[in-house]
Amino acid sequence: MPIDIDIAHVARLARLALSDAELEVYKSQLGDILDHAARVQSFEGEPQIDSAHPLGFVNAFREDETRPSLDRAEILAQAPASENGYFVVPPAMEEQ
């Protein structure tokens, strides 16, 4: 049974500005894929999930020592818009 997805909500969460037509196509394709992937729901396994690391590693720490980072000028050179060491962006909200 195809899974019903609130595709507009998912697209908003993922910050993807898709057209209604595109959303319909993706909704249908995702339904098909999830049908297949949802087989995991009937899987009976251990309730405990250990580390997401395949070999079970945890917490790689280093000494709390300052080190040089990347060159700021070089990084800002890649920015679509920058000024005085800042990335320039439009406002978070529309002006009223």
Partner: protein, 489 residues
């Protein structure tokens, strides 16, 4: 025999005997590129200047007695999802068009340290999401054995370059089979190492718990030498393995006498081409004749592994690709607000497969669905790991076809995502459990298309994996090379 038919080992011998220079090796590879790139499109960027400088430095170094090891002076290609400082790195996406990283990936630094000559950046499925290289935003790559067919993916460009001879070796990345499957489809060697053994620093992330970088090459020994040059603990990668690393070279010529080899029962049957099954069965018989004990092994959870993979991988990808937002680098679309800018940038910059996977992953991780999808998929991983552990109590290595089919025609699977995903059915379980696997070319089918044989080993079991793989290579005696039609310019 052309210079570009030489393995890394053979090229190295001639470099040291003075018979050939690194510049000559490079010129030969660039010559192949100029004759074949119009048909193959293996590369996105060829860095002639940088490669030339590195080749000259290698020649000068060798002459001065500075022998850095087996990769010195060897022209190597890099999949374009590995950051190369100052050299365009796109992950085959429009969202990174023109992006020049401010740093080298650790594997790139290691290759430079080893004196390797970086030829250029090869094509891939966008953000490594795909099994055919048809998802590249810059056009597909094609298979040197039949340019109407795919080279596999997502490391299709790297595979095509090595198979054609426009590089002597290459690096790819493997998240669900993306090194091994293209190696199988193009008749070369390709491997995914144990998770954590090759640094992911500077690898543009797809799925952080699955991704690994590995070599593609014309021989098993070449692959071992390349792996030795690029692996090792890296403090810049928090998932990097800090313990002892296996010795790869000492068991290479040992043969399989006394080895217990497990044949995975579930990696056969419906969907597997008869020629593939016959070729694999033929090699298994030869391994038995060579002294190995053949055991049939069942891994029932493998059947559900693909489903788990198609929840874990997109979920992790949705998190990793959140950084591509038009703010700090790459493509930026116009937006009234920051959210608007981000949403438009991403819609414009990502292709359909990437968009599909981000949506799938976002959904699988969203409130109310997390445990039913991602949580359950993680349980499958744990169960799969235990099943493999039980199997390795009875056998030293496992074997299977690398891919159920040979190279398929361009366009054959693009409209059917599920059918494309099924090409990874033999390879993706190893990514889920973090174990190493290698594909060795063993035969051609009746259409003159290569068939790959996969050897798998437990985590950090690369020595046993290489030992068996080297014997498979010896037994198969696969020396065929694709016939490249000359491009008339």
């Amino acid at each position: 025999m052309s210079l570009t038919d030489l393995t890394i080992v053979e090229a190295g011998e001639r470099l040291r005997s003075g018979e050939v220079s690194s510049v000559e090796l490079l010129e030969a590879a660039l010559d192949v590129a100029s004759r074949t790139e119009a048909q193959l499109h293996a590369y996105l960027t060829i860095d002639r200047e940088g490669a030339r400088a590195a080749a000259e430095a290698a020649d000068a170094g060798l002459a001065a007695g500075d022998d850095r090891g087996p990769l010195l002076g060897i022209p190597i290609a890099l999949k374009d999802n590995m950051c190369t400082r100052g050299l365009e790195t796109t992950a085959a996406s429009q969202i990174l068009a023109g992006y020049e990283p401010p740093y080298d990936a650790t594997v790139v630094s290691k290759l430079r340290e080893a004196g390797a000559v970086i030829v250029g950046k090869t094509n891939l499925d966008e953000f490594a999401m795909g099994s055919s290289t048809e998802n590249s935003a810059y056009g597909p790559s094609f298979n040197p054995w039949d340019i109407g067919r795919v080279p596999g993916g997502s490391s299709g460009g790297s595979a095509a370059a090595v198979a054609a001879g426009s590089a002597y070796g290459a690096l790819g990345s493997d998240t669900g089979g993306s090194i091994r499957q293209p190696a199988s489809l193009t008749g070369i060697v390709g491997l995914k190492p144990t998770y954590g053994t090759v640094s992911r620093y500077g690898l543009i992330a797809f799925a952080s718990s699955l991704d690994q970088i590995g070599p593609l090459s014309k021989s098993v020994t070449d692959a071992a030498l390349t792996l030795e040059a690029i692996w090792g603990h890296d403090p810049l990668d928090a998932t990097s393995y800090a313990g002892e690393y296996p010795d790869l070279m000492s068991d290479l010529d040992r043969g399989v006498d006394g080895m217990r080899i497990g044949v995975v029962a579930e990696m056969a049957g419906e969907g597997y081409e008869p020629a593939v099954e016959q070729a694999v069965a033929g090699i298994v018989e030869k391994l038995s004749d060579a002294g190995a004990e053949i055991v049939e092994v069942s891994l029932p959870t493998v059947d559900i592994a693909l489903s788990a993979y198609y929840l874990v991988a997109p979920a992790e990808a949705s998190a990793n690709l959140a950084r591509f937002d038009g703010i700090r680098y790459g493509l930026r679309a116009d937006g009234v607000t920051t959210e608007d800018l981000m949403a438009k940038t991403r819609a414009e910059g990502f292709g359909p497969e990437v968009t599909r996977r981000i949506l799938l992953g976002t959904y699988a991780l969203s409130a109310g669905y997390y445990d039913a999808f991602y949580g359950q998929a993680q349980r499958v991983r744990v169960a799969l790991r235990e099943e493999y552990a039980t199997a390795y109590g009875k056998v030293d290595v496992l074997v299977s076809p690398t891919s159920p089919t040979v190279a398929f025609p361009v366009g054959a699977k693009v409209d059917d995502p599920l059918s494309m995903y099924l090409t990874d059915i033999c390879t993706n379980p190893l990514n889920l459990v973090g174990h190493p696997g290698i594909s060795v070319p063993v035969a051609l089918d009746h259409q003159n298309l290569p068939i790959g044989f996969q050897v798998m080993a437990p985590a950090l079991g690369e020595a046993a994996m290489f030992r068996a793989a080297a014997e498979v290579e010896r037994l198969a005696r696969f020396t065929a090379r694709p016939e490249l039609a000359e491009v008339v310019t």
